[in-house]
């Protein structure tokens, strides 16, 4: 009895050690290309700059000339968003996307399947998804460590756009929870698409389409409140899909666009989607591996 306990403890330890090593290696990998790294972080905010000017020009026309809201921009509302809100929204979406975007994950998996590299996961006692998850966590962590300062700087500069200030208490907690779930959702969703590579070789085209949908339906492009509700209630349809949790939901929570019970409802649905994609990706993995081995690699 005690033997198996000791055994399971030691395999847990060795597993943990393996994960830790993977983690370290992934961080190392990330730090290799330095020019890339520093520039990439600052680049993220360039589109926001354009947005600031574009929306000012848009609001300018509908505002009462000469008045300004507390952000210093023109007053007036579009779909419940004041000018400051609009800019703040785009800034917050950058944050949610920093958590939920998984560059290269889908194509990486598809390529590994197509090139046969995935075989090494079948031979070695290591789980591919777990590996990838570790890699992503490591990458994101390093990113935040290094990017925290430029991010903080940008947000300090843009403080005025946050007309209602920063959220407090439960809204803040829900916000952070939604970010973590956004990470999980983004990861398992992209895994799922990549794993389709076991059945269809040309997953790249699918990825394209996914990215497109992601851009539009996640709220990355504009706040979902702007979607028309008649004659077809497009907005309701889009809000039904999981994509909004990748960008829109955390931003909306932060800006107070989601209130009260809806906060927890939203979080719960987000959690459901995460679990859904975890399950699907596991199923696809095991089915795919069986099919793959059947072909003799």
């Amino acid at each position: 009895m005690s033997n198996t306990a000791a055994n399971s403890r030691s395999t847990f330890l060795s597993d943990a050690l393996t994960w830790w090593t993977f983690f370290k290696i992934s961080i190392n990998e990330r730090l290799v290309y330095r020019g890339d790294f520093i520039i990439g972080t600052l680049m993220r905010f360039l589109p926001t700059l354009t947005q600031i000017f574009l929306w000012w020009a848009i609001y300018d026309v509908i505002s009462t000339e000469g008045t300004a809201d507390s952000s210093g921009g023109p007053d007036g509302q579009i779909a419940g968003y004041r000018y400051g809100d609009m800019v703040a929204y785009y800034l917050m979406v950058t944050i949610s996307r920093a958590f939920s975007s998984m560059p290269g994950l889908t194509s990486g998996i598809a390529n590994q399947i197509r090139s046969g590299e995935v075989k090494k996961f079948l031979i070695q006692p290591v789980d591919m998804q777990g590996c990838l998850l570790m890699q992503r966590i490591a990458h994101k962590l390093v990113y935040y460590l290094m990017a925290a300062i430029p991010f903080a700087f940008v947000f300090y500069l843009c403080g005025d756009f946050f007309i209602d200030g920063w959220p407090e208490g439960e809204r803040l907690v829900v916000f952070f929870a939604s970010l973590v779930l956004a990470f999980a959702l983004g990861f398992y969703l992209e895994c799922t698409i990549g794993l389709i590579g076991f059945w269809f070789l040309e997953v790249t085209s699918l990825t394209f389409i996914y990215m497109l949908m992601n851009f539009l339906l996640s709220g990355h492009m504009f706040p979902l409140e702007l979607l028309p509700e008649g004659p077809v209630n497009i907005r309701a349809i889009v809000e039904f899909l999981p994509f909004k949790y990748l960008a829109y939901f955390p931003a909306a929570v932060f800006l107070g666009k989601v209130e009260g019970a809806a906060l927890y409802q939203g979080l719960a649905v987000e959690l459901m989607w995460v679990v859904f994609f975890i399950v699907i990706s596991r199923v696809l993995w095991f089915r795919g591996v069986k099919r793959y081995s059947g072909y003799g690699g």
Binding site: K24, I27, N28, L31, V32, R34, F37
Partner: protein, 331 residues
Amino acid sequence: MPIIEIKNLTKSYRVYQKQEGLGASIKGLFKREHKNVHAVKDISLEVEEGEFVAFLGPNGAGKTTTLKLLSGVINPDSGTCQVMGFTPWERKNEYRRRFSLVMGQKNQLWWDLPALESFRLNQHIYGVPKEDFDATRHELCDMLDVTRLLNQPVRELSLGERMKMELIAALLHKPDVLFLDEPTIGLDVIAQHKIQEFLKSYQQEQNNTILLTSHYMKDIEALCKRVVIIANGEIYHDGSLEEIVDKFSGDKVVTLQLAESVDQDALKDLPNVIEVTPPKIKFRVQREKVGAVLSGILNSHAVEDIVVEDPPLEEVISNAFSAAEAEGKPQ
């Protein structure tokens, strides 16, 4: 007037050190350590038109770097070089039109398209008139027996077939000088042989100048009269193959075929026995001692046949490399 003249050519690379560990990686974001690798050190060489020269040397010796310098792909740190009267790294179009570089480990043909399309592209890039192009193409494809493969996408060809296509692509414009970097690497014996035969007859026919680097002795033996051994970025030896064998093989290999009646055991305590397959015994003897040892054996045993030969070329060359490395190491 030699067609290739190299004088005191030198080239070093800066290689960045990647340190182990997390802390070092973070430091590496801000400052990187590097060291200089001297790929080619003060090389001087002359090649006459029509020669077929081999560059031989251990990995990292500087053979490929030398070829790249001669092709103008990289610039040297110092020294001069003239090929057909041109300085390669000026990359004049008149020069580039008259030579070719083929690298065995990399291919320049479009992967998804038939080789013929890549040939056509070269035709336009080199400005080869249509009749010349067609004639040369037919000739080369016949010589290498690949005409039936011309319309297959390159990715579907075997390694050997692909190499043949690469060679054809490089020869369509009838270059006067050809640089070959390990052209037969990774090929099976038959493919290697075919390419060797092709190169031999092609060179004799066209009388162009060819520089070849290779690890395969068969290539060298079959094709080149002159062998340049490069090690540690320097020329270690420049001469014929026989000279190298003489210089670097200390031993001879003797194979004796003994008469039935002789007792095998008596000969077992010969030093340096390689192989015993009765009635034959193969063993090594130092060159100078061959005569003495043989006469000793002949006096005491009945021998039916004697063969005295050089050790395998690979061994000789490997001795040469080791000697070169030893010399190159800092004292």
